[in-house]
Symmetry: none
């Protein structure tokens, strides 16, 4: 079973609205094993709509259409569908009564223009709309030679109305038709290694012909693997999905920080919570971004109490006690300075860990030896793991061991700041795993 | 002149990623008078990509393709384009050298798989990618009978890389080709007042039939007016656009903080730079987000030196000297406490202004009297404007006047934090304008 999703609206082809319906519908269809061949978007133009419908009906089992069924002159989807089906539009009396009732309940009389919303192609069925006046349409397209059959669903473009209608009246039909076949997916997230390096580690796992299939995507520096398992039964799909996910984990190990909706900051938060430890931050070029990420997570007050933003050199001296001599000799962007920032922040905040970042985010400020994108990151941590002969003093801030690294991140100011904060989180994550940074 | 936008990626047809590129591209194309016929999305499937390309080239002057040019086996756009053009892929030595250099600068060797990224269809040209290894492609499709000619641009799916490439190398070509009918647009941004209230203030300005037209959109709490002027000549369009923009400014006044790409933080940064003043931050629930926003702007070191993140009560006491008595009596989320935070942060940082935020971002922590979304914000500022009889001591931190307000923001944790930081920036912006907050 497969489907094509057709979205209609000038606001979409003019780029004034981002089409989120198609992504939502694709997820829903995949969840019942119906593959989506393509998304098509056209404006409020009857010929364009007819053309798109005409070409789609021969290529899919289900054509899922959204938009263009409002009451105004630029809503032309029902007219286009009737033309493609080669049948007239007919008034559906019972829906007309519902629309009139809808207005009456709001103390108003139905404007004449709304009566078009009760017109559907002959032979089609109404899909009830419990949240508005635009009824949906459920129609069987059958070509003149009877060779092409496609079930067409038309729904409103308003996401809330569309979703309610789809869930109640469309999804059950498609689920039944695709009886059995299911696509189950899992997404695994990594940070720190490029897309091609991840692909190389995965090797044959990514071969195009495999099922489950494994593909990679990159978003804001996070390289994610999408594992899709397509099988006749949910049990089989679930089993094969797990097997493929395990195979990926075997190849990438701890590079994978989480799956599906888990963010890097959540992964770090979980480890901090599990070890009942706290972290503080000392930020220069990221200017609060790292602390913001750490506090994105609900309940972050358990592991994050305070942070330092020391953008100027004087602030590094006055707030964190980094000596002006060190700042002058090594420069603010140096492993010496970030190490001192981390060590002192850890002591001042009485935290178990401190992350410090200082770098050149750009666009200006770069030099030959320290180009834009140069970022130093340090992690201060207790000198010995808990329970190995040191008292609370050693754990909470007093004595620190420090690991510092220098990175060169590509991209613009926002990229450099984002990658810097994520790399700092990654350094802490590997430390909490008691493993060296793998890159 | 017209265009079709083709987006490629399994993550799109599976609904795992919402396609925002097509909307952005549509806006850009409309701005130079190039109508977008349709958007088409297909998965990482060479036959599907070829089919979509094959059908599109005969229907548009420009085919704008994004995605599928990464280094891995599921990136098939360049292969599909070569097949549709009926030419072989050839190695572009100069781009291969650039890719190798990209890796070398990062101290790594180019994985063999990346060399595919230097392959383009014979006769096509490279579109430079300054932010990654995926070069774009600029190709002329000419059908066997020479009747169909279409210029095809292929760009990466990663939005930042795509946008930079499109702006530099694609848009100028299309602009020149579409000389004549023009749509010129301006977007004006406001924060603090709801969309329907903005629409009410605009009144007849928003009537559907007008040209220039005015529409509103909302994104992350920013209510924006989009003004589109569509005329036969660029001069006329520019003139009418200015007139409509002025009319909107007349109705909304200082609620408008900027236009087009200007962010709220940039608007505030400009005012701080103009007055050569500095600001510091004292953040509880926003955990660094406000400072992050202030340092988003290049050159922010001129007005931002340091900030305080005091998430826990002890941090408010230890770092900012807010008395434990005040914290106990009024609670951390109170105008008393944020006022003290702002006053003390301003003194410690020796800044001209200090913004302090304390609130309940949720999901837990709310109560009957202070539900989730309750946020107190304070601005500490010099007691008298510069030049009115106070010395440097009064200006830089010593004596403060403080204005505090309590807000109730709707939405989830991320929303509440985002709106809180934006409201703090807005309080400072109106103070710098020497005007009361208009809501």
């Amino acid at each position: 079973m497969n489907a094509i999703i057709l979205s209609i609206g000038d606001e979409l082809v003019l780029g004034q609205t981002v089409d989120t319906n198609s992504a939502w519908l694709s997820q829903q269809l995949a969840s019942v094993g119906c593959a989506v061949r393509s998304h098509i978007t056209v404006g409020d133009d009857q010929r364009a709509i007819e053309e798109a419908m005409d070409e789609s009906v021969g290529r899919c089992d289900f054509l899922v259409v959204t938009g263009g069924i409002g009451p105004t002159a630029d809503d032309l989807t029902r007219q286009a569908l009737a033309a493609v089906m080669n049948v007239p539009l007919e008034l559906n009396e019972s829906w007309l009564a519902s629309v009139k009732e809808f207005f009456k309940q709001r103390g108003r009389t139905m404007p004449e223009s709304n009566s078009i919303q009760a017109m559907i192609p002959r032979g089609a069925r109404i899909l009830l709309n419990q949240n508005g006046t635009a009824a949906g349409i459920d129609a069987d397209y059958i070509s003149g030679d009877q060779k092409t059959v496609c079930r067409v669903f038309v729904m409103p473009g308003v996401p809330s109305e569309m979703k309610a209608m789809f869930a109640r009246d469309v999804l059950p039909v498609i689920r039944q038709a695709s009886a059995g076949a299911v696509i189950l997916s899992r997404t695994l997230h990594t940070f720190g290694v490029g897309e091609s390096a991840v692909a190389e580690m995965l090797g044959e796992q990514m071969m195009r012909s495999r099922n489950p299939s494994v593909g990679t995507t990159v978003s804001n520096g996070i390289v994610s693997l999408r594992v899709n398992a397509r099988f006749d039964s949910r049990e089989r799909a679930a089993e094969e999905l797990e097997r493929a996910v395990e195979a990926c984990r075997g190849k990438l190990g701890d590079l994978i920080f989480g799956s599906d909706d888990v963010t890097l900051q959540q992964a770090v938060a979980e480890r901090l919570a599990a070890s009942r430890t706290t972290v503080t931050t000392a930020e220069s070029c990221t200017g609060g971004l790292l602390a913001k990420m750490l506090t994105d997570v609900p309940g972050s007050s358990d592991y994050f109490k305070t942070g330092f933003i020391t953008y100027a050199n004087e602030a590094k001296y006055e707030r964190l006690g980094v000596s002006m001599e060190m700042l002058n000799v090594y420069g603010a962007v140096s492993e010496h300075v970030v190490s001192a920032m981390a060590r002192n922040a850890r002591r001042l905040a009485k935290a178990d860990y401190a992350l410090a970042i200082s770098g050149i985010a750009g666009p200006s400020g770069g030099s030959e030896s320290k180009p834009v994108g140069t970022v130093c990151i340090a992690l201060a941590f207790p000198p010995l793991p808990p329970g190995e002969g040191r008292g609370e003093g050693a754990r909470k801030g007093q004595e620190s061991s420090v690991a510092a690294r220098t990175f060169l991140f590509p991209g613009d100011r926002a990229w450099v700041r984002d990658r810097s904060a994520k790399m700092a989180l990654t350094m802490l994550r590997f430390h909490l795993l008691n493993k060296p940074l793998p890159f």
